[in-house]
């Protein structure tokens, strides 16, 4: 990508975000009885206290992991939508180790996260395997695997980990040694943020500085070219799906060990889907993932704060997120301007 192309993409992304924000304000104006208050909370709520800003950073962690996971899987041009299930099931794997095992601190969460990651890689790896082996649509099978992960996970939690004395459908408490430490006082921001930062660096280096990453990207751009160039496409595709699943599963593990005392999810958390927006905003480039994750986390926390003290339900964010996907992924959006720019450059 040339420098001007990159600038153009930044301009395009900025414009989409502006349109999305304007649409949010229009929706607020139409629906809310106290639009001024609602808008103020939506836009500046996350900044009004350390605790709220901490919420944004906390929300970033799962989005960073699922965004990275999907970037890696989509880089090979595979529409594997299994990050959602891998995130959920990875978290359950970690919960088992956090509840049942006795390990020293530091080692305990490491083992749990590793285990969660392995489970995640199995879950995203199977659709990838079925694709390269028999050509079964990874799209359909990964969607099914999300539901399998969900129901099987609930089964495991409710029959093997459930604390019957807790009064709700939750697991036994995690061992103290398994939890991730808090890194910013007065907030719930945990060590997972640092692991996420490391994961960003690792994924960026892997995709852009290693032979395997290069293979994956070449496959994503043009699989026929990759085959002619002698790349073992099956192996590289499978690697990308397994690695993506690992990142998602580890992300789920980190989320539960960082924020909760027990496993409490009774629904799929939806981060796998939000991760798709993160990846699309970042154009599957790990370096931009933190920016995209921050933006989405900020918007969600803003909407949460707004819905707590006004009459606006926070679900309208889903509408905005959908619009962002459509516009960013729309290759003919601003295509005229891009054309003009290319022509202008050629004239110089």
């Amino acid at each position: 990508m040339t420098k001007s192309q990159r600038l153009f993409e930044i301009y395009r992304t900025g414009l989409v975000i502006l349109i999305a924000l304007l649409l949010s304000l229009v929706i607020i104006l139409l629906v809310s009885d106290v639009p001024g208050e609602a808008m103020k909370l939506f836009l500046t709520g996350p900044l009004d206290s350390l605790r709220h800003f901490g919420n944004v950073l906390e929300m970033m962690v799962p989005l960073l992991f699922t965004g990275l996971a999907i970037s890696v899987m989509f880089s090979a041009s595979q529409f594997n939508l299994g990050a959602e299930g891998a995130f959920f099931f990875g978290a359950i794997g970690a919960a088992f180790i956090a509840v049942n095992w006795n390990l020293p601190p530091v080692i305990h969460p490491m083992v749990a996260i590793l285990w969660g990651g392995i489970i995640g890689s199995v879950f995203c790896g199977i659709p990838g395997f079925l694709k390269i082996k028999w050509g079964s649509s990874e799209l359909v099978s990964s969607l099914m695997f999300n539901y399998i992960a969900y129901f099987f996970g609930l089964y495991l939690i409710n029959y093997f980990l459930r604390d019957v004395n807790a009064g709700a459908m939750v697991s036994y408490p995690f061992a103290e040694s398994a939890k991730l430490i808090r890194i910013i006082p007065k907030t719930r921001v945990h060590f997972g943020l640092i692991i996420a930062a490391l994961a960003v660096v690792f994924t960026a280096v892997f995709l852009h500085r290693t032979r395997w990453g290069y293979r994956i990207i070449v496959i994503g751009r043009n699989i026929r070219f990759a085959k002619y160039a002698g790349i073992n496409t099956d192996r590289a595709i499978l690697l990308s799906q397994v690695l993506g699943g690992f990142i998602a599963g580890a992300g789920g593990s980190i989320e539960v060990l960082g924020l909760y005392r027990r496993f409490t999810w009774q629904l799929l958390p939806g981060y796998g889907w939000t991760g798709i927006i993160v990846a699309i905003l970042a154009r599957n480039n790990p370096i931009y993932i933190p920016v995209a994750a921050f933006f989405l986390a900020y918007m969600r926390i803003g909407a949460d704060i707004m819905s707590r003290s006004t009459d606006m339900p926070n679900e309208f964010v889903a509408i905005i997120q959908g619009l962002i996907i459509i516009l960013i992924a729309a290759s003919s959006f601003l295509a005229k301007q891009r054309h003009k720019m290319v022509v202008k450059e050629a004239m110089l």
Binding site: F152, Y159, E315, A329
Partner: protein, 315 residues
Amino acid sequence: MSAFIDIIINPQFGYSVLRVSTPILFAALGALISDKAGVINIALEGIMLMSALTGVIFSAITGSAFFGLLMAVIVGGLVGLSLGYFSLNLKTDVILAAVAINMIALGGTIFVLFLVAGDKGISSSLPSKVLPKINIPGLENIPGIGPIFSGHNVLTYLAFLSVFLIWFFLYKTPLGLRIRAVGENEHAADSVGISVIKTRYIALVISGVLAGFGGAYMSMGYVSWFSRDMVAGRGFIALAAEAMGGATPVGSMLASLLFGFFDALSNSLQLLKIPYEFVSMLPYAATVIGLVIYTIRKTEQIRKIQERAAEAGGA
């Protein structure tokens, strides 16, 4: 084991298979039409959800179940149209556009439900209507068969009738031929003067309308209310049913019935104290297994044809 067999031979089980297959069948036919035109429509899930809510709201406002159904179907068609606009005009990848539509549907229906019913979970405060059930005279009195096939919701009959209608449409009408031509080879279709974009628009609208029927059935037949995420992956299962059915109307119907069988089984097995979560997993696991078996058979067939071609070439 005998309890298990008792469940399956009970006419009520047959009845419930047809009942739970209905929404999947509608959506599978929707998947079929768009697939024939060369577009994968994974927005079926979201369309069903939006139509389900639309049906509840408009039947509650007007007091007429059929008006609710009409609006649900119109909304389904409109969402299909907008998927066409995003993918064909704005050139958004059709899978991503559909993911976006599903996301908007999931959050948007909760948003609208809250505005209309004051609740984020269920529409029970709305006086919504249910589409009528039909008893078939004569048939209903035949023991063993009557209880299975009679007394279903009007949409269940329409769904199975649609299998024939869609077959007729795709294989016996000029527009159906154009749709198949565009999906088979868009350049060839284009070269003989078929507008690829227009044909795909039509296919996506029909696909949306069919999913709209499925969604309306969910909230005005299957149950009598709307609840968040009530479609629960049926739109995705329908995609798998269509693929497993070999992209034919009758095949899609048989695959939908198979998923319906597992879905009904999962409802019945709960009576046998088999864990609910485990049983709920069945239709999805069956889908993956079915899909894999189908694709293995297909790759085997292709391999055999290639071998035969190689032999013929060698001789």
